[in-house]
């Protein structure tokens, strides 16, 4: 009886893992296929002829008003890296204020900023668009960076990490004559390694995956990010039905976020757990 239950447990877990993984597997294999081998009944899982040159074509062929996927990916990397760096600096700075100083209204303000993480971003997209237009940032990559450089989520993450730093460390720096700002930059920030990698990876993935917001604020194709560029393909688009190239492009598009995730898996998962309020 116990044996059968155990077997059943593995069966369920393996089935669900396969459900998660098979779309990726099919995508990667389709990326190597000839066009006529992609959608066949019955499915040809293994490409009869391997065409690795599909990736080169998907990456460099200037199909989108003279631009190619490589441009979109460079734009995405720029946006994701700069947003992450700003998020690391700004949210540890603000998180320090929330974690180590006591003053009236602090918890109310923290609660207010946190509650924004529970509001759907798409509900404020129209007025946010107006603000970005007033700031003169329409059709600029900075429009994708600035609104997300500091969010309730990353402030909370930084605060939780900084809470565990002993006060004596700050007191010692003050006794040595450091100013409040120096205490932060020279004593606190350098020991925030775990917080920095967690905030970095969460922000990187968030910025890389943004779609609705760039769709709204960007208009010239030279500035498109990867998801936006990919959306020019797809059923019903005006581009040729080159399914093998779509899949090559989709495979290339998931490599940077996946690579980052695999390197920083532990800090990422720790961040998700912290955000769910379970871990200090």
């Amino acid at each position: 009886m116990h044996r059968i239950l155990r077997l059943l447990k593995y069966l369920i877990l393996i089935t669900y893992s396969l459900f998660c993984f098979i779309p990726f597997l099919w995508m990667i294999l389709a990326a190597f296929k000839r066009p006529q081998d992609v959608l066949t009944v019955p499915i040809k899982w293994i490409p009869p002829v391997w065409q690795p040159q599909n990736f080169i074509q998907a990456l460099f062929e200037p199909r989108f008003a003279g631009y190619s996927l490589s441009t979109f990916m460079l734009n995405s990397i720029f946006v994701a890296v700069i947003t992450s760096l700003l998020a690391i600096v700004l949210s540890t700075f603000v998180g320090y204020g929330f974690a180590k100083f006591r003053f009236r209204g602090r918890d109310t303000m923290l609660w207010g900023m946190l509650s924004t993480t529970l509001l759907p971003f798409s509900s404020v997209i129209i007025p946010l668009f107006l603000i970005i237009r007033m700031m003169g940032l329409l059709d600029s990559l900075w429009a994708l960076i600035i609104p997300f450089a500091l969010t309730g989520q990353t402030i909370f993450l930084a605060r939780q990490f900084i809470l565990s730093i002993p006060r004596e460390l700050m007191d010692a720096a003050r006794v040595d004559g450091a100013s409040e700002l120096q205490t932060f930059t020279h004593v606190i920030f350098p020991i925030l390694g775990p917080a920095i990698s967690t905030i970095g990876i969460i922000t990187f993935l968030f910025a890389w995956n943004l779609f609705l917001w760039p769709l709204v604020v960007l208009s010239s194709q030279g500035k498109f990010t990867t998801p936006l560029g990919l959306s020019l393909m797809g059923l019903g688009s005006t581009f040729l039905v080159d399914y093998h190239l779509w899949m090559a492009a989709a495979t290339l598009a998931v490599i940077p976020p996946l690579a980052f995730f695999l390197i920083l898996e532990k800090p990422y998962l720790r961040g998700l757990e912290t955000l769910s309020g379970l871990k200090g």
């Binding site: 447990k9 369920i12 393996i14 669900y16 893992s17 998660c20 779309p23 990726f24 099919w26 959608l39 009944v41 019955p42 700075f93 603000v94 320090y96 204020g97 929330f98 100083f101 003053f103 602090r106 303000m109 609660w111 207010g112 529970l118 509001l119 759907p120 798409s122 509900s123 404020v124 129209i126 007025p127 946010l128 107006l130 603000i131 500091l150 309730g152 402030i155 995956n209 779609f211 609705l212 998801p227 990919l230 393909m233 797809g234 059923l235 779509w246 899949m247 492009a249 989709a250 598009a253 998931v254 976020p257 995730f261 898996e265 998962l269 998700l272 757990e273 769910s276 309020g277 379970l278």
Partner: protein
């Protein structure tokens, strides 16, 4: 104490600046434009509650609430049940390969909606798609013709399957963290008192999981109801109005039809619905933040 206030405010000031600029101001702007007849390119005139009255009688808006509720109901139920089940199975220190399984389950969550959306378009393609290919192998030839994304009955299900595939990993991780946080002494104590495995699960584990379950349900609800990408990628809101959810309705009203005032009013109603859920969630969460 003045010192604490001075430096505390100094450090949190960027937070206040961003919060006001990117959350408070947009809400005020939306509230203001919601009371006007503003159309993009023209001046705005005050019309009071006309937009709101119009929304209450607009069949397209009703349909968008219905579509949002339908997709949210299917995907939140599916996601939470699967995530809880997986977390219970994975919460076992002797499990072989649990790290690999957790990695595979979270993969869809860390990749983007558009790249994976392209794959799901081809999975759902009638007659020649991946699903059709699998059905043909199983001899279920009548199922091959199913129009997953272009029939009004199936489209919400196709979108929900995509959402469940994409997001269940996140909630599995959260449930798993919750389960790990339950000290095993409780279950052991129950067993000492003569409870069997099922009884200790039913009367010890389940009640202790209640706060985290509420948290997951609310987070899953507010994030699903705000989703734009899976619908844009699979159906574009169609067929007819079957999957035109609130975010799609807002997007079209403003960026295609340029009805700024009307779309702003709809955005305010959308915010109120989400805010109501957020407040409930925040109240239930507060204790865990300060523990």
């Amino acid at each position: 104490m003045k010192r604490e206030l001075k430096y505390g405010m100094f450090f949190i000031s960027p937070g206040i600046f961003f919060f006001i600029l990117f959350w408070i101001t947009p809400m005020i702007l939306a509230l203001y434009y919601g009371w006007t007849d503003w159309t993009v390119g023209q001046s705005a005139n005050w019309v009071g509650f006309r937009n709101y009255l119009q929304l209450f009688t607009d069949p397209r808006f009703h349909q968008s609430i219905r579509a949002s509720a339908e997709i949210a109901l299917i995907s939140v139920t599916g996601t939470c049940l699967i995530a809880l089940g997986l977390a219970l199975l994975l919460n076992d220190d002797e499990l072989i390969g649990s790290r690999l399984i957790r990695l595979l389950i979270i993969l869809p969550f860390v990749t983007d909606w558009v790249a994976t959306g392209l794959v799901w378009q081809l999975i759902f393609l009638p007659n020649s798609g991946v699903l059709a290919g699998i059905f043909s192998k199983l001899g279920l030839f009548s199922l091959m013709k199913l129009r997953w994304t272009s029939s009004a009955q199936l489209a919400p299900w196709a979108i929900s399957i995509f959402i469940i595939w994409k997001t269940t990993g996140l909630y599995t991780i959260i449930f798993l963290a919750g389960l790990k946080g339950i000290p095993s002494q409780f279950a052991e104590a129950a067993q000492v008192d003569g409870a069997n495995a099922w009884q200790s699960f039913r009367y010890v584990t389940i009640p202790l999981l209640r706060p985290i379950t509420v948290f997951v349900l609310v987070i899953a609800f507010v994030s699903t109801i705000g989703l734009f990408e899976p619908i844009y990628m699979l159906t574009g809101g169609g067929p007819a109005d079957a999957t035109r959810t609130l975010p799609i309705f807002l997007y079209e009203s403003f960026f295609q039809f340029h009805h700024g005032g009307y779309a702003s009013a709809a955005g305010i109603l959308f915010l109120i619905i989400s805010l109501a859920f957020a407040l409930v969630a925040a109240r239930m969460l507060q204790y865990s933040y300060y523990e």
